[in-house]
Symmetry: C2
Amino acid sequence: MERIHDVAVQGVGTSDYGWFRNRRVESLAWEAVAEAVKDAGVAVEDIDAMIVGSVFGPPGIATRVQRGLGLPGIPLWTVEAACASGTAAYHRAVEAVGSGQYETVLVLGIEQMSTLFSGAIVPEATDPEGAAGLPLPGLYALQAQRYAAEHGVTPEQLAAIAVKNKANGTDNPRAHLREQPPSLQEVLESRMIVEPLTLLQCCPTTDGAGAAVVGRHRGSGTRDVLVRSSAYVSGQLWDQRSEHVWGFDPVVRAAEAAFAEAGVGISDIDVLEVHDAFTIGEVIALEALGLAPLGKGAELAPSGHTARDGAQPVNPSGGLLSRGHPLGATGTAQLAEIVWQLRGEAGARQVRRHRLGVVETMGGGAAGMDGNNCVVSVLEANR
Amino acid sequence: MERIHDVAVQGVGTSDYGWFRNRRVESLAWEAVAEAVKDAGVAVEDIDAMIVGSVFGPPGIATRVQRGLGLPGIPLWTVEAACASGTAAYHRAVEAVGSGQYETVLVLGIEQMSTLFSGAIVPEATDPEGAAGLPLPGLYALQAQRYAAEHGVTPEQLAAIAVKNKANGTDNPRAHLREQPPSLQEVLESRMIVEPLTLLQCCPTTDGAGAAVVGRHRGSGTRDVLVRSSAYVSGQLWDQRSEHVWGFDPVVRAAEAAFAEAGVGISDIDVLEVHDAFTIGEVIALEALGLAPLGKGAELAPSGHTARDGAQPVNPSGGLLSRGHPLGATGTAQLAEIVWQLRGEAGARQVRRHRLGVVETMGGGAAGMDGNNCVVSVLEANR
């Protein structure tokens, strides 16, 4: 595998996030792409290829988006990697630019959940988890139960993650849920979905799109954000005899690869967007990234370490819990937030120190029992 | 884009093709992969990555297949390029091996249509063609109508393609439709689907899988089949003011790139598998590949040129018309046939001369109006 040199995110954009049943899926894409292309300061004609990350497509989504955009006849690729599809598309773009295959790649993550699911995602009946009646909240709840048995975690520790991220989301004008942020008590007293996860600890199903222009780094003085590394891992099945809970190992593998390639450690990272599909997800991700020792990740939110004004803010965008989780678009939304943060353009959400940022997205579950797609990328502000 | 050097198809395999409502999608994959891995003579542990081509997945299909196979935790990629998804996955594998990203890549094309569609594929309502009530047989019928208006084509010329391919399919024990091959009269008198395409001129919806192991060429004396070139084009929208019918231009672009890279011309090619989803499709594909001048492609089947014992046999496997069209698996089935033919292992279907072969797959239509995904690959027998 070639190492990445001089690859940058030149521009990012997103749609609003929410429940847009009556919008065409292409129009969501258009919003994100138009912003990303303008942000990058490139001409549409400069784009050499488009890589689309989406779980439920629909099939032909890349063509439909291209038709709506009036892009010329560039190669289109569509990749699916469960909830990590958007970041997997970004990773492919980084590889393609890094290896010289393409100069400038448009990345699009997109999902219109509202037209696919009437509120609930029901796993396909032929799938083992579907047959077992185990949708994703159940899977994450099992993760939380096992974590609680091994390390101990209080309801208040988990709820504090929702309080933090939903407060951040209040300052994100594009977030799906941006009402008055709930108190700890309100999170704890919201309807129980699957023990121990209450309603306000679960991400909503959301429509949205995110886009990025990935190309060669255009030098200092530009608004380019450097890609210091990007690692994609997949394919590792979770073994229930593992000493770690479901979803931990793939993040460790991706994080180790990403930090090694970037030549930095977790203590160097100023700001992170991680996969908080459910509150327990943030705990596991942060331990896997090394931000806390095993069993100590649940202390990070209550202690203020990961607050927006803390030492290492996590999910300043509001995360999946507040922005929502339009599967294929989630990774590109995380990427956009980190790019805005590293440039100092995050407005009311801006974190203090912003030289190095991390995006972490995990996919898998409903079809894998394993969280087996994970992308971790380290990005650096231009100087 | 790096040129391809020393890349080979080391082994291929397929499932049976048919209507397998009660089989798990993974079991179809297993059949194809087990055969391909054995055929390649590699150990499962030698596989560095798996790239899956599928249109309708389901999401997580790569993980599910991997779990069923007991493959180690290798990177998984899932790509969607409409009906060309299988060959697009193959193309990505060729790129990945050619660039040194991976040594040995398992390609899988898979689709279980029977559990998705109860006989008919209805385009999604939000899609422009869906809204227009234009499913694929209608699109191909318009292609045929326009072709007839521009160049003239008789019902007998089109029907001759079905007669040829269905006769070939009779000798393919894995083909979906392998009953007594129909006569010209029977093709013409079968139920009209969309003027001028009768039932026996339409491919069936089919379940199936195909697999290939792509790696470095292991030298003469092995059963490796060399990849002389592979070209993927996508993204070109059809303009109805074009002087060519829908679906022609992308094949031309892919063919020109593939022949240029291979350094050969169409007259050098001994055997072809092309995308005959409907009889007219074979006419358009063969003209776009240069096998006949514009407007003369419909003469190839009646003249015997493309018969199994003709000068340049086309679709000796029976093609999509006989083998069936399990979207993502079609390209890998075509690839398997060409590999068997070039090795001289095609049994009753074996063509006489078999040094150079071509695979051509076209995707798009229901979501693109443009046949905008096309892969053309030139392969060469080992010596």
